[in-house]
Structure formats: structure tokens, C-alpha cells
Assembly symmetry: C2
Homo-oligomer: 808 residues x 2
């Protein structure tokens, strides 16, 4: 045995183990492996405790560590002792010990505190999101109830032809004014609050910064905007905006400050980094979905599907926590507001209601699949129209703000008008049997004791109409009523999405789908009357298909819909239908959200690199004339670089021998590290010049505190955070070495696009250094450079192309 040999050798040579080790030129770890003993035995064999050994060797512990070339942690592991024993052995006090360990006591405490704070923040996010959801829900309930009661009185009062203009005018005027208010709020106060916000949140989670997206102003505009637009009777829902609202709540709470209020609460300062913030916003988005649909798991999956590229167990666990809490809190709050606090019957803003006695048979699957195909077509059609509308809008309406408000008003007025016309022309009269839904039922031209079925659909919130579609018996609506309803509503919903109001597309899509699903169910019932009266499942599948065909979400949508029904029974058919709807839809165009992201020209990274891109290399993708800095650089040049080449990061180089002019060549000198734009700003702000004494020493908190950028460097110094430099200071130098990242992620010029793609996606990078074979900087690759390469798959042919990405 080698182990024995060494011991004999040691005895023969009469030397201590340290010399042996020196002779053998092996590390103590290898030695131990050779001897096959555990740590304590090793120490026993050595026969001395570490202190004596050190005395024998005549060196202090730090030199010892240097000799052994190990870190103090490894040393401790070798000896298999805990910190306290180690400390006793070394005979040093706490502070020295911590210094030796390379950590200060504050960072150890912070580690524990941070862990707790993360959970606490998630708790607050869950509850905060639930509060926002509850406020929105209550306000909309109040407005809707008031509006329809007043209208119903007018309708009931005016039952002659001549008088009907009064309720019509009242309806149109009310809708137009309320929506105009909502639209003005969004258009003039916070343009980022327009739409559902889902595309923007998707971009944010993907790593793209959008200014103003997560400000409190946007939250306020979003909340009141959605109340006004749903209250104003637009064909839109309040669920999409909840996702955006949850994200803003999360960003606000986790950062502990607000730019708008100019207030810094000085809490959670350690969460002020892009990564931490993004993690919390994930939680907020999940809580938003959860609060909207009562779908906590769906919310988590939504975040994962849309945002995360790196699955982190503990983060996900915290997101689940926030998500579950949001559902629970919404449930508690809404139940309390409705006067039965212990009942917990309101899991979210929308619930599909239970399907207790309905199940499906295997034989019905083909029909469901057919509906999936229909959903795909219908969704693609919706997107195609919306695409053309949006292009038109960008060109002619967006340039003038008042036109945007006017368009919203127009749509609101037309919505009301259409509703009126449909109620007027469709004579689908039903017996008014139960008194439960009395207040939403209007008689119009029906005989006494009956009500107008179309009026019943329009005199409710879209959510309530959806639930009617899912649960009313087969004979509740005539086929003609459904057909008359679905086409105008489809067009209306299509027109509404993209207006400058805060609105979501979930509920209108579900409603459209439920209506045509019900139609298909009615048709099927005509053919096979024995299938019984459970038509609700067709409406459910139809709703799923239409929404899936429009937004093309997959896993998360399946789970959200399953959780909305509160039953996993329909999991398989919903999944299969969504899959088919997605495939069919993808044949024609992109999903609605992706389409809008595409039109905004945001450099979002897809899931995988284009399949055919393995012949594209780093040298083709990179920005070759990259701006570099030297390790010691004058303030003048730094200011120049920041002003003239505003990038996120700059390579720090050491010029190679013989190359004086570094900008002229293709390679710029040996790569030493990378320094960020914001770091340079902080260095300038704190004037860390080599010529100043005492030279300021900056730690991590300085870099966290301010978001300094090149725009703040100017000579006038009007604003509070501006950086002022005198001419003298401009000549001073800054040593970048202590502040730069000495080991940035990097690839060589030969790396292929898929390989680089995986780096960006897997690690969430924003920029990547490209070096040549001599480790000289060859260029930089940014997110935008990668996002250019897109695979377009249309009508079965695959193609790769470079997009032109505009600055955002």
C-alpha cells in the first residue's frame, strides 16, 4: 500500500510530515487521499495539534496557509473542526477570525436577515396584490350594479318605441364618458398602463428594461383605468391588468422606495439589484395571476413559462408562497366584504364555478379536438385583424393623444349601441322563474313574466355572462341569439385590444369561445340527443380553445383553466385542445402578446436558438468596434466614453506590446476584466481619483445606492444627482482594477450561436465578451445582437432571419 509506504518512509527518513509533503510536492489533500484516512486520524498521525505544528514550522497561520496554498475554509475542513474550536486553537479573537475567514460578521448576520426578509417581502407582495385585486373588484361591482340598475329602470319605464332613445342615449353617454376618463388617465398620465401589461411584463422578466413600467404612477393608472374601462362596458376584462399590478406592487415593496414620491424608506436596500428585483417581480406576477383567477399553481407556472430561464428551487418556493397567499387573501377579503367572512367562497376575481356532475366520455375527445382546431383558426383570425388594426393605429392615431382618447370613446359608444341593437332585434324571451337573478333581467319587448335573454347577457359583467354560458342549461339561449352575439362581440373585442385603456383580453376571449362552444354543443345535441343536458363542458372547452388560439400560452393556461374549474377532471381535454389550438394558430401567425412585443421591436430572446443557426459564429454576431478602457484611465476619457459610446459595459484591457493605437486594430489588447457603465458613474461621482488623498474607498453599498448613468454627467450640475467635474479633475486618473469584474463570462470567436444563446438564456446575461485566441478583446455581444436572429416558421417552411431591432 502506498499509504504504508509513506509512513515507513517517514519513519526511515526521520522527518516530520510537513517535510515529506514538501519532498513529495503534493498538497495535503492528496496526501490524505493517498493515506486513505479521515481528517482527525490525519491530525493524530501528525501527532501534534495544528498550533504546535505551526510553532515547529516557525510560521504564523497566514503564511502557513500561503505555503499550503489553500483557503482557510479548506484548512478547516481538513481539520474537521467547527469555527469555534478553530478559533480556540488559533488563539485569536472573533474579529481576526472573521477577517481570516474572509467574511465580516455583518455579512454573516445579513445572510440570515436576508433570508427572512425575502420571505417577509413575498408575504407583503401576496397581501398587497390581493388588496389591489379586491379594490378593483369592489369598485367594478359597485359601478356595474349602479349602472345596470339605473338603465333597467329606464328600460322598464320606456317600453314604447318612441321612448327607447332615452335609455339608449343614457347608456351610450355613460359608457363613452367613463371610458374617456379611463383612457385620458392612461394616455396622459401613464402610457405604460395601456393594455393588459402582459407583453411588457414578459419582456421585463426576459431581461429587457422598459422605463416607467413598474412605477407607482403606472399602478394607479392601471387600477383606476381598468375600473373605468370595465365599468364603461368595453369588451375587456380585469384579469390581465392584475398581473401587471401585482408586478408593480412587488417592485415597489421589494425596493422600499419610490421615484415618483421621491421617498426612500431605507428598507430592503440589499434587494436593490436587477436580479433580486426581477425575482420579486416574478413573485408579484404570479400573485397577480393567482389573485385574478384563484389559480396559485397556474400563477407560478405563468411566471416560469413567461419569465424564468433558470429554475431555482428556493425562489420558486417563495413564489408559490406569495401566490398561495394572494389567493387566500383575496378569498378572505372578498368574503368579508360580501358579509360571510368564514365561508371563503371567492378564490379569485373570476371563478368558472363548479362542474360537479359533469364528466366527459372518451368518445367526446374527437369533438373536443375539433374544437381545438376551430379555436386555433379563430384565434389566428383575431390576431390577424388585431395586427392590421395596430399597424393602422401606430401610423395614424398614436401620434395624436386626443385621437387615442377619442377612439376609446368611440369604441365604448359603439359597444353600448351594439348591445342595444342586439337586445332590440333578438326576440329570445324566457320565463322569469327564479327571483335570484331578478335585477339583471330586463323585459324590453317580452311579454310580462318573461325577460330578454340577450339583455341578460349584456346587463352583466363579462365574467358573469361567461359563468352563465358555462352553467345555464342547454335551452337557456337559442342558437340564433348565440350567433348574433358572437360575431359582433368578436370584432368588438378585437378592436378593443390595443386601445389606450387599461384592459385585458382573457375574459372577452373566454366569452367568445364559450359562446361558440355552446353553439357546437347545441349542434351536437341535435345529432345525438342522448348525450344529456350537460352543455357546459362544450362552453368550457370552447372558451379554452379560443383563448389558447389567441394568446398561445400552454402549460400555465392549462393549469389556470383547470384551477378555475376547481377540478382536474378536464385537465387532459383542455391540454390537448390548447396544444392543437397553438399548433394551428402558429401556422398562421404569432400569439397576441408575442405579436405586440414584435411590433414594439423589443429585443426579447426566444426559448431556443434558431435551429439552423449553428453555422453562425461569435465573430459574425459581435459588435466589433467595441470601446475599451485601460486599467488606469483618465477621468476625461471615461467621461468621453460614457457620453459617446453609451453601452452597458466596457472591457478593461492591457495593451499588448507593440500596439500603441488600440482603436485602429481589430483586437484591442489583452482582456483584464469588465466594468459596467453604472460603476463608472459611481466612481466619477465619488471622485475615486488616484491623485486625491485620502483616496475614497467604495464598498458594495455605494454601487447599490444610485443608478448613475452618463446622462448625469454634465458641467452645469443643475440636478441633485449630477456629477460635476472641474477641468483639473478631468486630468486625474482612476484605477479601475479594484472595481472591475476580473472574470467576466466570455467566449472565443469560434463559439456558435446556439452555444452563445444558451449562455445568455441560462445565465440571464446582458452582454458577453468575445476574446480571440490570444485572449485579446475581439468584441462584445449584447442581448440585442442575439435577439436579431429569429426563426420564422410560417406555413410549414422554416427560415432564419435577422430582424432590425429598434432602440427602446
Amino acid at each position: 500500500m502506498l499509504g504504508d509506504d509513506i509512513m515507513n518512509m517517514q519513519a526511515m527518513l526521520c522527518v516530520d510530515i510537513m517535510n515529506i509533503q514538501a519532498m513529495l510536492d503534493v498538497y495535503i489533500m492528496s496526501m490524505q487521499t493517498m493515506l486513505d484516512v479521515d481528517n482527525m486520524s490525519m491530525q493524530t498521525m501528525v501527532g501534534v495539534n495544528i498550533m504546535s505544528m505551526l510553532t515547529m514550522l516557525g510560521v504564523d497561520i497566514m503564511s502557513m496557509l500561503a505555503v499550503l496554498d489553500v483557503h482557510i475554509m479548506s484548512m478547516q475542513t481538513m481539520l474537521d473542526v467547527d469555527n469555534m474550536t478553530m478559533q480556540t486553537m488559533l488563539g485569536v479573537d472573533n474579529m481576526s477570525m472573521l477577517t481570516m475567514l474572509g467574511v465580516d460578521i455583518m455579512s454573516m448576520l445579513k445572510l440570515q436577515r436576508k433570508w427572512l426578509a425575502r420571505w417577509l417581502v413575498m408575504l407583503m407582495i401576496g397581501i398587497g396584490t390581493a388588496l389591489v385585486a379586491t379594490i378593483i373588484e369592489i369598485c367594478i361591482e359597485y359601478i356595474t350594479e349602479y349602472k345596470f340598475l339605473a338603465l333597467k329602470k329606464l328600460f322598464d319605464f320606456c317600453r314604447t318605441y318612441s321612448c327607447l332613445a332615452v335609455p339608449l342615449l343614457a347608456w351610450v353617454a355613460f359608457n363613452a364618458l367613463v371610458v374617456a376618463a379611463g383612457s385620458a388617465l392612461v394616455t396622459y398620465v401613464a402610457p405604460q398602463a395601456a393594455g393588459s401589461g402582459i407583453p411588457q411584463i414578459k419582456c421585463y422578466l426576459n431581461g429587457v428594461k422598459i422605463p416607467g413600467l413598474l412605477s407607482i404612477k403606472t399602478l394607479a393608472a392601471k387600477m383606476f383605468g381598468v375600473i373605468l374601462s370595465v365599468g364603461g362596458g368595453l369588451a375587456c376584462g380585469k384579469e390581465g391588468p392584475m398581473i401587471h399590478s401585482g408586478s408593480i406592487v412587488a417592485a415597489g415593496i421589494s425596493q422600499g422606495r419610490s421615484k415618483l414620491c421621491n421617498k426612500d424608506f431605507k428598507v430592503f436596500e440589499y434587494f436593490r439589484s436587477d436580479n433580486e428585483r426581477r425575482d420579486f417581480v416574478s413573485g408579484g406576477a404570479a400573485a397577480g395571476v393567482s389573485a385574478a383567477f384563484g389559480a396559485p399553481i397556474g400563477g407560478v407556472l405563468f411566471t416560469l413559462e413567461e419569465g424564468a430561464s433558470f429554475w431555482n428551487q428556493s425562489l420558486t418556493w417563495r413564489i408559490v408562497f406569495a401566490s398561495m397567499l394572494a389567493t387566500f387573501a383575496v378569498n378572505l377579503l372578498l368574503s368579508a366584504v360580501h358579509g360571510h367572512p368564514s365561508d371563503l367562497s371567492n378564490p379569485g376575481l373570476i371563478s368558472f364555478g363548479r362542474f360537479p356532475d359533469i364528466s366527459y366520455q372518451a368518445i367526446e375527445l374527437p369533438i373536443f379536438l375539433l374544437m381545438g382546431v376551430v379555436g386555433g383558426f379563430s384565434g389566428a383570425f383575431f390576431n390577424a385583424i388585431n395586427y392590421r388594426l395596430t399597424v393602422f393605429r401606430h401610423k395614424y392615431i398614436c401620434p395624436k393623444r386626443w385621437l387615442m382618447v377619442l377612439e376609446a370613446m368611440l369604441v365604448a359608444a359603439i359597444s353600448a349601441l351594439l348591445g342595444f341593437v342586439m337586445i332590440f332585434f333578438v326576440h329570445d324571451c324566457r320565463d322569469n322563474l327564479d327571483d335570484e337573478h331578478y335585477e339583471t333581467r330586463i323585459q324590453v319587448f317580452c311579454p310580462d313574466g318573461q325577460y330578454n335573454a340577450m339583455g341578460d347577457i349584456f346587463f352583466k359583467s363579462p365574467e358573469a355572462s361567461l359563468v352563465s354560458m358555462l352553467h345555464e342549461p342547454a335551452d337557456a339561449f337559442q342558437a340564433t341569439t348565440l350567433i348574433t352575439l358572437v360575431i359582433p362581440y368578436f370584432l368588438l373585442a378585437c378592436w378593443t385590444y390595443g386601445l389606450s385603456v387599461s384592459s385585458g383580453v382573457f375574459i372577452p376571449s373566454l366569452l367568445i369561445g364559450a359562446v361558440w362552444g355552446r353553439l357546437i354543443g347545441l349542434g351536437f345535441l341535435q345529432i345525438v340527443p342522448s348525450m344529456g343536458n350537460n352543455i357546459g363542458k362544450y362552453a368550457l372547452i370552447g372558451a379554452a380553445c379560443q383563448l389558447g388560439g389567441t394568446v398561445r400560452m400552454t402549460i400555465s393556461l392549462t393549469v389556470i383553466l383547470v384551477e378555475c374549474t376547481g377540478d382536474i377532471k378536464f385537465g387532459l381535454p383542455i391540454m390537448l385542445c390548447l396544444m392543437l389550438a397553438k399548433w394551428v394558430g402558429d401556422f398562421f401567425n404569432k400569439g397576441l402578446y408575442d405579436m405586440h412585443i414584435y411590433m414594439m421591436g423589443i429585443p426579447i430572446l426566444p426559448w431556443d436558438a434558431p435551429e439552423m443557426s449553428y453555422t453562425v459564429f461569435a465573430s459574425e454576431i459581435m459588435n466589433s468596434p467595441s470601446t475599451c478602457l485601460h486599467q488606469v484611465e483618465t477621468a476625461k476619457r471615461i467621461v468621453e466614453v460614457l457620453r459617446e459610446h453609451p453601452h452597458q459595459g466596457y472591457p478593461v484591457i492591457e495593451p499588448c506590446e507593440g500596439s500603441q493605437e488600440i482603436m485602429g486594430d481589430k483586437a484591442y489588447g489583452r482582456c483584464k476584466g469588465l466594468i459596467l457603465n453604472s460603476q463608472l458613474g459611481v466612481l466619477l461621482k465619488h471622485k475615486v481619483f488616484d491623485q486625491v488623498s485620502p483616496k475614497p474607498v467604495l464598498d458594495i453599498s455605494h454601487f447599490r445606492d444610485v443608478h448613475t448613468s452618463y446622462t448625469m454627467i454634465n458641467s452645469s450640475g443643475k440636478r441633485k444627482n449630477d456629477i460635476q467635474l472641474t477641468d483639473e479633475e478631468m486630468k486625474y486618473t482612476i484605477d479601475l482594477t479594484p472595481y472591475m469584474n476580473p472574470a467576466p463570462y466570455q467566449v472565443t470567436q469560434h463559439a456558435s450561436l446556439p452555444r452563445i444563446f444558451r449562455l445568455f438564456r441560462g445565465l440571464g446575461l446582458r452582454h458577453l465578451l468575445v476574446v480571440n485566441e490570444k485572449h485579446e478583446v475581439a468584441g462584445m455581444i449584447t442581448r440585442k445582437d442575439l435577439a436579431k436572429y429569429r426563426e420564422t416558421q410560417q406555413g410549414g417552411s422554416v427560415r432564419m432571419r435577422e430582424l432590425s431591432i429598434q432602440e427602446y
Copy 2:
């Protein structure tokens, strides 16, 4: 406008656009941006089609591309034409076009076929897993029914004291023999089939290869092993092994061949890479969970939580598909076997049954939380005992195989004996009212018309007992019965986990938890009798807590349990309890699976780098004396390197000027690429020597086809796949350049441990190259080097240590 200026300039200068471009020294893309026009207009402005332009320039298309320094794809994008038009414009035939595009037609077709094949394989995995689950279920049902009916007859026949030895002996003998058969099967035929297989699958998904884990032999042993061990009455479940079985099914189907049968079906050959296989195994594991618990979403989350480090949308969608299908197929198959095929009432092997009329009140949450703490303690205690048992087993039992079988027999006998003793001593007699459960109820010493409650628990499968605990009314079991049951069963389950049989720990844990949960519920009912009779929820929460405290799974377990109850009502309390149970348990020791992985010494990577490791750098972690190869290397040296330094990959270097002996120095020459062990084997096997003419040209399929390793190189050449080299050939050289990876992932020596960790975790790397500042190879970091650094968190103090990892 700059755009106009350029056009004017062009007119003035009377030159064509290409010259302008040359003069301006900008790319065509930038030019286009400057002109702010779209592609087609650009082309129109140029006024010529591309072919004329080429003619004007007098160059062929390839030179043109070289001049413009763009890839043909970018060119195509610039012109905004599709492939066909491009081809027409260029006037070339199909093959040349494809060559220019850098893809061959086969790879384009394969792209489409691969996509379809992926879904097809997932379909087969879902159905295959469901089949395995059904076979296991049916066999166990049959054995259990036969056994208990026979025993019941014996019991009913022998109701005097003297005669009771007969059923006792029969019971003990049956159990011992059946379990011995199962244990012998596992021990002698396929040792990898022992236990639940979850720790091993976890390791596999984490990136560690375990030989024989996914072979058909193991599947057979696993299936019949679990039938015999559950049939033999061990305190174990059949759910854990389903996850392993699903994984094997997936591996088998996706690879289209079996080593055991020595059969290659030549299908799905393009899935024969580590990554593809791992993706399918993820799907199989999810399908396994899904089939076992009827929890498709839980299965997907299980895979993500345990395996995936990189969230890929389309992969996850396929996993959802396999998972949903498995649930559906199990449902269909079991319903069909039970004679009501259209009812679909068997979503998985275990269902907790519905809790339709039970809800919880906010006031009960504190009690649930307390139960979470109890679960944490209880689970940690379970693990602590099991740890000591496993250590003992490793030392004294595992060396001898027959001892392992004997131990399993002993446990089986004791299980039966204990059951008998408990039935014997606990006189908990109940009225035998309904006839539904008649066959499992034995009278023993109870008066006529009554049955023994303890006997009812033991004369069923553990799954059925669990359902009883969850749904029987509060007075179905006395507190003494429950206490007498829980302690011996706890110890028995603890002893059983780790036996050399195929068994799972889910069901026994759930059962133990349900029993003590019921006890707590009974206690609570004593204090607050008004809480009503719904004691089932306490049993449910108790079951969740015990299992959570033992295995410490988080998100996936929450979802699995929620799906098992078929209702999201209990989502929040289950989540909170699991969280508490995990925290409390983690204070004492690791989760059961992690503990076993740790004891096996497998280098599994945790989720995050240790928190205090930011002072550990690449230079400390890396294996410094790394073996390198030159770009052109002799066969002799390659064989030597493969034999003497068996690593997974070797850096390929170009020696620096002035350094003749590359092995003596710390840096080994400029890094040119990386070549894998298996690639070298293939090169040797196909004799790609520079001196041979015609030199063989290998493509990707050669490298996919065989798993050649250094063990196959020997001079005798006995085995079929062996590589034989003559002395002459040993002197030949191989040029590695075309086959090596020219741009391997790499870091510099200054990279810190967390940074390296993120690379490994995010990209699923197995090895990483470390280069110094001159781009010379400094060393290699493997998974094992990283896995050494562990954070141990015990009793509140955090500590980082290096583990000694053994070879696996």
C-alpha cells in the same frame, strides 16, 4: 435628412451604391438603417436585382459574401426574399443552394421529423408508463385479495386460543417467502432496482451517470420486486418505484435499443445523446409520478424540482403531455379492468378520495401549523434512525448478499407478527353495519356482528388503510388503537426503507402521518366538540406533514397532495405545513433522499453555490495537472492518455513558443479546443490517421453510434467492439482539429465559485476549461470538484466544507 444626402451624393458622384458603401466603409445593414427604408425598397433603389449587381461587380456570390462579410442567411434577410426566390435569382440548383446555406437537405427534413418524433416518443412514454402502473396495480390487487381472503378464512375458522397459531404461521410464512423472492430478485439480478429509485433518478437528472440504472433488467426487477414486497405485506408503497419505472420506460423507448437484449431497433437514433435522453427520462419520471398519484402537474413539477436546472418551454410542454396521458391511460386501463370502462374513476394508483363537504376555517390554521412542526420533528427522527440503520447495513449486511435477503425476510416476518399481536391485544370492536367492506373485516375475538378495527387496518393494502384514515368518521377508531398502531408501524417503516427490496416510502409516511393527524384531531374534538365530525382534514394534514418532514420535497409535493385530493381547497394549509415541516426538519438533518445520495457519495450539485464561497476561485478548485493533447497527436500518445488519465475530456493545445516540455509547466500552451474521451475512441476505432489514404471522414452519426471508451482499447481484440492497433499504426498521427470543439465554455483563473457554479447549473456542464490571462490552459474543473464544496447548515450555524467524493 441623411438618407436624402446619401442619394444625392450618389447621383453627384455617379457611382453605384456598392462603391458608396465601400467609400463609407459601412455595412449594408447600417446603410439601410441610415436610409430608413425597408429591404425591398432598398433593392428597388439599387435599381438592379442582385444577379446584375453581381455581374456589375464581376464577382461570384461567394466572394460577394466574403466582401460583405456576412453570412448567406443575413444576405437573404437583407433582400427579404425566401429561399426559392433567392435560388432563382442566383440561378443555382438545389444542392448548391443548400451547400451555400450551410445545411444539407437531410438535416432540414430531419428537423421536421425530429419534432414529430419527440411528441411520438412522449406519447409512447405516457402510455408505456401507464401500462407498467396498471400491471403492478392489478398484480398487487390480486395477491392481496387472495392472501387476505385465505387468511380471513383461517381466522374465522380458528377462533379458539389454541388454534390461532395456524393463521399466524400461515401469515408469517407467506409474507416471508414472498418478500424473500422479491428481495432475491433485486439482490441477485438487478441491485439498482433496490429502494424507491428516487434518489438515483434525482442524481441522473442532475447529470450523474449511474451504470445499469435505466436497463430493462432493472425495470423487470423493479416491477416484480415491488409486486412481491407490497404483496408480502412490508410497510412500503408502490408509488416511489413507479417513478423509477417510468424513467426506464422513457429511456428504453427513446433510445430504441437495449443492451441486455443486444437489440438495436434503429429507430430514434438522433435521440442518442446524453441531453436528449435526459429530457425523455424527465418525461418518464413525470409520467411515473402522474401514473402513481393521478397528479399530472405534480409530476411535471417533481421533474423540475428534482431534475431540471434549465427551464425549457417546449420540453416542459412535452413533459406535461406525457404526464397527462399517463394519468388518462391509467384511468382508462384500470377502469376497463374493473369493468366500467367509461367511468374513468381511477386517476392513479392512489387517490385520497374526495372531501366534498369538508372545509377549514381560518381559526384552524394555527393547529395545522403546529402539525407542521410535529411533522418536521417526526420526519427528522425517522431520517436519523434510518441513517444509523443504513450505516450499520452498509458495514455488516451489504457485504454478504444472502444476509440482505435474510434481513428482508426477517422484516416481513416481523411485520406479520406485529400485525397479529396488535390485532390480538387491541379490543376495538365495531358494529359491522354495511356489507360493502365485508371481505376485509375479521371478527377475531369480537362478538358476532362486530369486527376488529385493528384487523381492518391490517387486512388491507396500506393505500386502502390510508383512505380509511382520511374518510372514516371520528368514532371509527379509538385513540388507543391509533397510538398502538403508530409507534410500531413507524419503526417498521423506518426499518423497511433501505432493505434490498423494491419499495417506496410515500405510502407508509402518509399512513403514519394520517394516524397521528387523526389522533390530534381526536384531541382537538375533545376540547372543542362543536367543530363537528370532519376529522379527515386532520388526517390529511398530518399525512402531508409526516411525508414533508421525511422527504423535504416542497412545491411538487404540495401539488401532488392537492391533486390527490382533487381539490385546491387545502392548497394553502398543505403548503404552509410542508414549509414548516421542511424548515424544522432541515434544522436536524437532510431529507431522506438527499441523505441516501450523500451516503452513496454521488457528486450531485446543490441548487445554489454555498453562500460564503465567493472567496474561492477557479485556481483553487481546478485540477491543475491536467492532461493535454496537441492538435496533431500520435495514436500511441492518445492510447496512453486514454489508459492512464481517464477523464471525460481533454484540452487540445498549441504549445507556446519557447516551451518544449509541456507537462512540466503549470500552464500547458494556448488553448485551441476540447476533445471528448468518447470522440478519441471513435477516431481510433475508425483509424482516422493522417498517413492512411483515403483518410476516412466521420460525421455526427459515427460519434452517436457507439459508446467507445478507453477500456475497449487492447491488443488482444477479443470483444466485438474492441479497437485493435498494430505497432505501425501506433506511430501514425491523428489531426484532432476537425473533430474537437473549437469553442468550449471556459473561465479565467479569477472566476469565483458562485460564478462557476451558475455555469455548471445553468448549462448542465460536466467539465469546464480554466485558462490563464494568456489564454493558455491552466486546468479543468469537473462536476466532482464543484460538488465537494458544500454548505452544511445544522442547528442554525452555517458552515462551508469540502467533502471527499468517492468515484462512482
